[in-house]
């Protein structure tokens, strides 16, 4: 019974991807133009030789590693600023009021709108890229941290105070663990956005590495199968990181859902 439900679920989940692949392949044969719709086997050929050099720009893996490094740098910078700030804003009304207007004004500006300014300030390179990535990741981390801290129940803090906890203990042993699940959600969302930002930033003129660069470069050479292989890798890497974040959430922070 349980098993057949499970099989049914898997079946339902793979029907659409299968339809897309089959239709794709059928159309590819019908159109028969690799510059518009490459055949699945040409895409697979690129994907299955991930270390092979592509048009002198390095392989899929190498470029993916570069993109991941960039995203990690920008993401780390964002987290290092957003988490402490979010905690302070969540804890102290005055700090919140001090930063709120500025944050509300900057937040709606999409990271890509920062590109010209970032190029003017930092030129093309890791600094400007990290800047854009950090901007993208910053707000979800900040806002979720703040929400998490605000969601720390007053009775937890009062119980801790009553048991003799100092301000520092309360921060370390109540506020941080109590807000960690929401904070983690912020990190997950922030990482997703950072990943989108890095690919976009790598498409900027002047870049010469990374997955974003690779698919843009492949476009210039009419290598549509490389573009699509690159997109598949971008999607896969995003999925892998998201799964990691979700898995940690499930293992470490399940108390949030289970605690009524």
């Amino acid at each position: 019974m349980g098993k057949s439900i499970c099989c049914k679920k898997t079946l339902i989940r793979i029907i659409l991807p299968l339809i897309i692949i089959i239709t794709w392949e059928a159309l590819a044969y019908l159109i028969n133009n690799e510059f518009i719709l490459p055949k699945i086997e040409s895409i697979l050929l690129v994907l299955l030789t991930p270390t092979a050099d592509i048009l002198g720009s390095g392989g899929l893996i190498g470029n993916a590693a570069i993109s991941i490094t960039r995203v990690l740098i920008g993401f780390l910078v964002a987290a290092l600023v957003a988490i402490p700030l979010g905690i302070m804003m969540g804890r102290r009304e005055t700090v919140h009021d001090f930063f709120d207007v500025t944050i509300q004004l900057i937040r709606p500006v999409p990271p890509l709108a920062w590109v010209p300014l970032s190029l003017a300030w930092f030129k093309i390179g890791i600094t400007s890229m990290a800047f854009l990535i950090a901007l993208g990741a910053f707000f979800p981390i900040l806002l979720n941290t703040m929400d998490g801290v605000k969601g720390v129940k007053r009775t937890w803090i009062e119980a801790a105070t009553n048991l003799g906890a100092s301000e520092w203990h309360i921060l370390k042993k109540v506020v941080l663990p109590g807000s960690a699940p929401t904070m983690w959600t912020g990190l997950r969302v922030g990482f997703g956005i950072a990943w989108m930002c890095v690919v976009a930033a790598e498409m900027l003129p002047g870049t010469n590495s990374g997955l974003g660069y690779l698919i843009m470069y492949a476009y210039n050479w009419g290598q549509v199968q490389v573009i699509i292989a690159g997109m598949v890798i971008i999607g896969l890497i995003g999925l892998i990181f998201d799964t990691f974040f979700k898995e940690v959430e499930r293992r470490k922070f399940s108390w949030r859902e289970l605690d009524r």
Partner: protein
């Protein structure tokens, strides 16, 4: 242990500017090892009273003195047990019980030994590594009691600790808290809505009037323990206290 409550009053200013008098001139001397129950209509300031004694709130007038020192802020001898248990859901039973010892920088082995001792006292030895969400309401409240006892305060302040439990669990925990009280010789201030509970537990019952809470009457319950709820003397006292509460509501 010497706990003195002197002419305690508390006003709350609401945002609209109106003031609510929650407590009015409460005076009480609590004896060492005494079990006191505080009874009164909803909203008469029982929680406020306990919170002030626990140092979580300041009175508008009057003072609380513990061992001849005025209480402002947390006091190691006055530990509160909240109605909603307020356990830390990310900590298992042992870690919850150890919390107060951790913040007192007690070394881990000592902490563990003390936590084990009190977990055993509340009968949860086989649930040490369970998390609060894996426990029933009654078990959670036992953990809260163990957590409070672990820091070895002189006085336990309990705010309707069994209010959310079903009648059977409630009766069981009442018996248990009396046993713990016997073993540990704590002084207990226990807020409740239930006349029955107060009569079963208390040496003295403080009956408060409706808001602003004043002391309506202090009743000494001289029945020997364990008390039988079906005994005529118990019934007579119950009738008397109920009539007091009725009047208190009208006041």
């Amino acid at each position: 242990m010497n706990l003195l409550i002197e002419k305690l009053s508390r006003r709350f200013e609401s945002e609209g500017g109106e003031a609510v008098n929650a407590l009015c001139e409460i005076s009480l001397e609590v004896m060492e090892g005494e079990f006191i129950c505080i009874l009164g209509p909803s909203g008469c300031g029982k929680t406020t009273l306990l919170r002030i004694i626990a140092g979580l709130e300041e009175p508008t007038q009057g003072r609380v003195k513990m061992n001849n020192e005025e209480v402002h802020g947390p006091n190691e001898n006055l530990v509160m047990i909240f109605q909603d248990y307020s356990l830390f859901p990310w900590r298992n039973v042992t870690d919850n019980v150890e919390f107060g010892l951790e913040v007192r920088n007690i070394p881990p082995e000592k902490r563990r030994a003390k936590a084990d001792e009190y977990i055993e006292l509340v009968g949860l030895s086989s649930f040490r590594t369970n998390f609060p969400h894996e426990l029933s309401g009654g078990m959670r409240q036992r953990v809260a009691v163990a957590r409070a006892l672990a820091v070895e305060p002189a006085v336990l302040l309990m705010d309707e600790p069994f209010g959310a439990l079903d009648a059977q669990t409630r009766n069981l925990l009442q018996t248990e808290i009396l046993e713990i009280w016997n073993k540990t010789k704590k002084t207990i201030l226990f807020v409740t809505h239930s006349v029955d509970e107060a009569l079963f537990l208390a040496d003295r019952i403080i009956v408060l009037t409706a808001r602003p809470g004043r002391i309506r009457e202090i009743i000494s319950v001289d029945l020997p323990r364990p008390r039988e709820r079906t005994e005529p003397t118990f019934g007579a006292l119950r009738k008397y206290v109920l009539s007091l509460i009725d009047q208190a509501k009208k006041d």
